[in-house]
Each structure stands twice: as C-alpha cells, then as structure tokens.
Amino acid sequence: MAKKKITKKVYLQWYEDMLFWRKFEDKASALYIQQKIRGFLHLYNGQEGVLAGSLFAIEDKDRFITAYRNHVQPIGRGVPPEKVMAELMGRITGTSNGNGGSMHMFSKEHNFYGGHGIVGGQIPLGAGLAYADKYLGNEAITLCYMGDGAVRQGAFHEAMNLAMLWTLPVVFIVENNGYAMGTSVERTANHTDIYKLGLGYEMPCEAVDGMDPSKFYPVIQEAVDRARAGKGPTLLEARTYRYKGHSMSDPQAYRSKDEVAEFQKRDPIGIVQKVIQDKNYASDEQLQEIEDRVKQKLKDCVKYAEESEFPKPENLYDDVYIQKDYPFIKTP
C-alpha cells in the first residue's frame, strides 16, 4: 500500500485521540492517588505519537501486542475506554473481568493481544502471532512493541532471529523512552543506537522520531507493507520520552526536570496542534469543543467503572482453565 496522505481529518483525529489518551492517563493517575486504582500503574504520557502513527498504518485485521504500558493502545484499537477504566479499577466489566489489572489489557475482538508484565516476554509471542498468520495464509501482520529495557533480554534476540529465519510478518517497535525504569539506555549497554541490533540479524532497521506521528507514520507504513508483502520483519526504534515516572512510585532521581521540560517542548499533542493551527484545520473554538468532548467521555468512563461491580470471590476460578469442571484443590 502506498503511504496515505495525512489529511486534515487525520490530524484532527490524532489530536482528539492523543488528547484523550493523555487525559485518560492523567485521570488514572488521580484515581491511583485516591487509591481507586491499585497495584502498579505505568503511564503513556509523552509517547502518544508512536501509537497515533502506528494505528494509521494498520488495518483492523492486524494484530497488536505490547508490554505493560498498555492502557491507551486498546482504546486506540477501538476498545470502549470505559472497559479499560473498569479493568484499572478491578471491576467485572473490565477488559479482563478484573483478572488482569493495569498491566494486562486484552481484547480478542480488537486483535489486541495484551498487555504483558514480564519485560520482553511478549516479544516471542508477537513472533508467534505472525507465525500463525503465515501458517494460515492470513494477510494480517503483527505489530510487536517493547520498551528500551526489553532489548537487553534474551527473548528479544531469540525472537529477532526466529522472525528473520522464518520471514515472519511482524514489525518490532522499540519505544525508546530513554529509561528502563531508572536505568538510562547508556547504562544498559556500550551502544545506544538500539535499532542497530537489527543489523546482527540482517533485519531492516531504522531509528525514527517517535514524538511526531507524521514522521513516525511513513516509516512504520513501509515496515507494515514489507511484512504484508511476505518480505519479513523490521525493527524500528521509536525515539520518544515518558513524562511521568516509570510507575507511580518513582521519585525520578535519575533525571532532571530540565530534561523533561526539554522533551515537553516537542510534545506530540503540541506538534499536531501546531499543524492544525498553522494550517487552519480548526478554530480555537473547535479545538475547545474537542477538549470538552474528551472531558465528557472521560467522565463517562469513570462513572461506568465506579458503578460497576467488583468480581465475586467465586469468579476467581472462572478463567483459569477452559475446561469448565477442572478439579481445583481447595483448602478449607
């Protein structure tokens, strides 16, 4: 497929989507402080450009798998956001019926394969999704995401090798936000150009600006097209940044406020907003309408989640086995 033109409609969609994702995460953060969301909470703020650019390049039939910073990706793929909010709040109406929590969002209907909590563990799964599509002759491709920390896991390297060996229709996207929790990329290896890890496997690889969806989109579209044409995988390093800590309990002593502020000057939402304003794609009033819509949608999400029930204790056994009469050991 040729690269699609990034029209006014696309920019406005990107703006509304990214704004919603940002506000969704901010709301999740607030709910966490109120202890309505528990466990770990990893926020996507700052990385939205990668997702916006990616979604424009794929089709509904394509598959999407990522790590634990995974609240807004399913929303981007069409999962009702209130279901994600309900999962964050541990409700039975959540995407995994309250079984998964923040790190484990799934939606079979939307070809969203999680939501994975063990760093790098999802990378061979992404190769496996693509393996099945190749085996079955499907035209679907897989986008497999990971953070910069994950590329130091063996799982990454084994999956890269197998994907090349078997010419699998998969695109590996490293969202390099600079830090594996509190450890900077510089402190994890003697090289910092992560995309060059593809060279060892002779996999097409490239570093891309992940802050600007209009720059990320054409590159990932090429990779998607290559996969769909049966020409195998690609490794993309999306250079991005997360504004928030690794998770909610991160004091962020490993970086300066100036560094964060520097990246916020290149905020993906700001970049898109500037194009909209420069090209007169929308008036200030129209942008305000978008923001009002986003706020209302978010309110509805929280209301839905808060009004939903928690799972009942007996639901604990519902989804462990597909076999419905599995004889669990139950101690008194």
Binding site: H104, S107, G121, A132
Partner: protein, 327 residues
C-alpha cells in the same frame, strides 16, 4: 488388534494421527525434522508432513516456546518438543507466565491450546543439569495440566488427548523409556487426563508412583509377593490434576501406603498426596505413609552416586515392610 511397539513409536503415532486429523496441529523443536528427533520420537514425520508442519528450530527454547504460545493465541495447536525438560528451564517464563496465565489474564479471551512434550528426570550418568525431574515444579502451577506416561499405551492415549485439549498440557516422558515396548491397539483411542490407573490389585499395601520410576514399584511388588504380601500399584499418570479418589479408595482398602517418586523431597507430589490422605483418610491409616524420593541433592555423575540418588526397589520393599510392621 494390539501390537507391540516402542514408546517412541507410540509418541510419533499419536502426533502423526493428530496432525492428519487437524491441519492446525504442527510440531516444532530442536532436531525434530531432518534429524528425525534426538530420540527418534518424531521419526518419519518430516517426510509425511513436510517442513511447514514439522519445524526444526535453532537452540532457542525461550524463543520457540514463546512462538508456540503466540501461535496458539492466534489459532494454531502447536506441539513444542523440548529435547529434555531440563532445557525448558530457559523457556520457563513462556510456560509459567504466558501459557499458564493467558486465559485468566485475558479474562477468558485467549486460551492456549499447546502441548509441551519431551523427556523429564534422570537418564543415566548425565550429571546434575541433565537429570532433573520437573513434574512437581510444573504441576504446582495453576493453568497447566501435567501428564507423565509410563508405558507406550498411555503415552499414545495421553498425548493424543493433550493435543486435543484446549488448555496447555505438558507431557513428560523419559529418554530411558523410548525403547520400551508395549501393547498398543491399532484402533484409535484416547485416555482422559487426570485419571490414575490401578496397574495391579492388592490388599496389603498401596504403592503409588508415576513415570519411569514406577518400574521400581513393580519390582518391589514382585519382591513383596514372594513373601505373600499383595501390593496394589497405582500409576497416577497425571500429576495435575491428580486423581485423589483412586488413591484414597485404595488406601481405604489397604490402610497402608508407600509413594515412589523421582523428585527432590521438599514439596513434591508425594508430600501433596500425604497431606491429602491424612486429611481425607486419617481414620483408615494403620501406619504413617512412607515415601521414597531422590536424595536431597543435585544428581551426580559416578555410578555409585547415581544409585545412591535414585529411588530403588529395595527401598520400596523396605518401606512397605515398615508400614506393615514386619521388620
């Protein structure tokens, strides 16, 4: 019509029959295709099914176990062979975190119809890293099912059922059993997972075991019979789930039990059975239940040390006589 075939042939037959039956089933692992299997348990399968469905891998257990799980989330029914389950330890994240938990973590959206199979436990003087019995490790994990056949008939029937199961199943074999011969019907049959079998009826003492080490229990039963002690021998066949009912019913009949398990002693299937029996059949016990496990050490190389490490028939005889208060 039954004929005698080797354990390895039973394994290959089970996989081949299921692959003929269902195009979604494929086999992947080290040396499974061109080499015909490290232990020849996949002999002839590449010729019949071709390289798309019988897939050699590099030595990347973590990678190909994960590819298996991912492909199972997307419609396939993989059989992933580990050359031995000792090597599954580098893939254990994919088994424990992904295969076992995916159905629950996704709220019942993605089941993982995968079979992991290969030999487990010791196989001669292979040293510590190649001699580990990991059945109880995997059996500890909710979301998995674990079966351990001890003869060609069970190997075929259990493996066929495992491949058709919609949950992840581990089928744990033994290098030392692949050459064993046994009667296997020509006709198709399946064996339910989670069902033990009484191999030999007896009224004096119950011997419970599974996997290749059950041969020590058989030998012990023969020895005991010479002294007119009738041992009932139960092959668990499945260690997750466990068929407690068959075990408890036997205990209620014999009132005495010895468990023979090739596993380290801390927290294994034996201790689980003992816990269960003391709770559910306490009043039927005429003696404390005994267990014969491996030594609480890594296995070592020298023949004397291998013998000292593994459960032996004479230990089983001694324990049986002890629970009968004969010595």
């Amino acid at each position: 019509m039954a004929r005698e075939i080797q354990f390895r042939e039973a394994v290959a037959e089970a996989m081949s029959e299921e692959m003929r039956r269902d195009e979604l089933v494929y086999l992947m692992g080290e040396e499974v295709a061109e080499y015909n299997g490290a232990y020849k348990a996949t002999k002839g399968m590449l010729d019949e099914f071709g390289p798309k469905r019988v897939v050699d891998t590099p030595i990347s257990e973590l990678g190909f176990a994960g590819v298996g799980v991912g492909s199972a989330m997307n419609g396939l029914r993989p059989i992933i062979e580990f050359m031995t389950f000792n090597f599954s330890l580098v893939a254990i994240d994919q088994i424990i975190n992904n295969a076992a938990k995916m159905y629950q973590m996704s709220g019942g959206q993605y089941n993982v119809p995968i079979t992991f199979r290969g030999p487990t436990a010791s196989a001669g003087q292979l040293g510590a890293t190649h001699s580990q019995a990991l059945e109880n490790w995997y059996a500890n994990t909710p979301g998995l099912k674990v079966v351990v056949p001890s003869n060609p008939y069970d190997a075929k029937g259990l493996l066929k059922t495992a491949i058709r199961d919609d949950d992840p199943v581990l089928v744990m074999e033994s290098e030392q059993m692949y050459g064993d011969k046994g009667e296997v019907p020509e006709e198709e049959y399946l064996i339910d997972l989670g069902k033990a079998r009484i191999d030999r009826e007896g009224s004096d003492v119950t011997l419970v075991s599974f996997g290749k080490i059950i041969k020590e229990a058989y030998q012990a039963a023969d020895e005991l019979a010479k002294d007119d002690i009738q041992a009932e021998v139960i092959d668990l066949r499945s260690v997750r789930p466990i068929d407690y009912e068959t075990v408890v019913n036997s205990l209620k009949k014999t009132n005495r039990m010895v468990i023979v398990e090739e596993a380290w002693p801390l927290g294994n299937i034996s201790t689980e059975l003992i816990a269960h029996c003391q709770q559910h059949a306490f009043d039927y016990l005429d003696a404390p239940i005994q267990r014969i496990n491996t030594a609480d050490t890594p296995m070592a190389y020298a023949p004397t040390l291998v013998e000292a490490f593994l459960p032996q028939a004479e230990q089983v005889v001694k324990a049986a006589r002890q629970v009968l208060y004969l010595d």
